[in-house]
Symmetry: C2
C-alpha cells in the first residue's frame, strides 16, 4: 500500500493500521490511515490501489478524515470473530478461514464462562507476551457465541486486545465447551494473571478481524 | 479415496466419478461410485474417509446403491455454476472460487443469448477437443443468469457437458453481456460447429460443479 501510494502521489507515505494481526489471521475490514499532501480524489486512490495490489488485498472504501486522525490511536472498539467447524469435517471452501475441530460443545457453559470475561479486567493471563511493560487491562463489551450448521462462532468486541488474546480466549471458552475446563474456573484464571492457567491458543486460521469502530 | 478404501476393506477398489472436471475447477458435490465385497456400514466408511483424506476433500454422504449403479453412466443431469466478480475487485475470501473481471454487463442480452442454447444441439462449437469421434450433441435444460452484489452467476443444467463446454458457454455469454458479441450471433455460432466462432474460454477459477442428479 505504501509503495502504491508513493507511486501515485510522489510522497513518502506511512500507513498506520488499526493494529497488527498475528500471521495467518484474516481481516474482513482492517482500517488504516495515512497523510497525503497531494490533493487526490478518494475514489481515484481506491481504484488505483485495487488495481496495483494483489487479489488478497481489497480496498473497500477510502474516506477523508480529520488531520490528526490515526487509525490505531483513535480506534474505540474492535470486533474479532473466531469460527470453528465442530462437525465431522470443515467445509472445503471455508477451510482457510474456519478451524476444523470435531467435538461436541456445551454452548450454555461457554456463555456462562464468557459472562465472567465481560467488562474491564487485567487480561495478563490471556496474553502470550510475557514481558510486556504496557498495561494489560482491557474492556470487553460483548462476547456472542452461536452454534449453527456445525459452525461454532465466537464474536468478541472490546476496546482492544492483547497479543494472541482472542485466540487464547477462544481456546479457553472452547475447553469450557468440551468440559475440559469449568465456567467457574474463569475468574480464578483471570485473577492468577498467569498465561499457563488459561486454555490453549487456537490456530490463527479461524480468526478474523471483523470491524474497527471510531 | 481408492487408497483409503483399500486400507479400510483390503480390496482393490476402483472409484468412478460422475465425470472429470478440468484442473482448477471446483466441485461442491461430486458423486462417485465403487463396488465393495466387504460388508461395511456407510457411516463408518464416511467417517474413516473424512479422517484420512486432506482438508480439500470432504465426503458429504455415502449411500448404498443398486449393484449395477455407475456414477458416470447413470448420471441424468448435471449443474455447473460459473461466477464472475464484475465489480472493481473480487472479495478476497472468494477469490479462489470467483473469476474477477470488472465490467458492466447487459443481463437481458445474456438471457436472450442463453435462450438460443436451450434444448438439444450439437455443441461442437463450444468444445475445446477438436478431434473427438464421440457425439457432441447435448441437451441443456436450463441456464439461469443473475447479477447480485456485483457477482454475475451463470447456472447451467444439462444432461452432460463437453470438454471446456461450460467455460466456453460462460465466456460467450459474458461477451454478449459486454457487447462484444450479439445475442443473435448464438445460432450462427452453434450452426458453424467451429470452436473459433464461439467466445473465450473463461478460467477454471470461477467454475463449480454444483450437483449431479440420477
Amino acid at each position: 500500500l505504501e509503495t502504491a501510494l508513493r507511486s501515485l502521489s510522489g510522497e513518502a507515505v506511512e500507513i498506520n493500521a488499526s493494529g497488527r494481526t498475528d500471521a495467518g489471521v484474516h481481516a474482513m475490514a482492517q482500517c488504516a490511515s495515512f497523510h497525503l499532501e497531494t490533493e487526490l480524489d478518494c475514489e481515484l486512490i481506491k481504484a488505483r490501489l485495487n488495481e496495483v495490489t494483489g487479489r488478497d488485498i481489497r480496498i473497500l472504501s477510502i474516506e477523508r478524515a480529520e488531520p490528526r486522525f490515526h487509525a490505531r490511536l483513535n480506534a474505540k472498539r474492535k470486533t474479532y470473530v473466531y469460527r470453528i467447524a465442530v462437525g465431522d469435517k470443515a467445509d472445503v471452501f471455508e477451510r482457510r478461514f474456519v478451524y476444523g475441530y470435531p467435538c461436541r460443545v456445551d454452548i450454555q457453559a461457554m456463555k456462562t464462562a464468557a459472562s465472567f470475561l465481560l467488562g474491564e479486567h487485567d487480561f495478563k493471563a490471556f496474553c502470550s507476551n510475557k514481558r510486556t511493560k504496557k498495561s494489560t487491562v482491557r474492556t470487553i463489551y460483548g462476547i456472542d457465541i452461536t452454534l449453527e450448521n456445525d459452525t461454532l462462532t465466537m464474536r468478541f468486541t472490546g476496546n482492544g486486545f492483547l497479543y494472541n488474546m482472542v485466540r487464547i480466549l477462544s481456546g479457553t471458552l472452547l475447553q469450557v465447551g468440551t468440559g475440559e475446563l469449568k465456567a467457574s474456573d474463569i475468574t480464578a484464571i483471570l485473577g492468577s494473571m498467569d498465561r499457563k492457567n488459561a486454555g490453549v491458543t487456537l490456530p490463527s486460521t479461524g480468526l478474523m478481524l471483523e470491524s474497527v469502530e471510531y
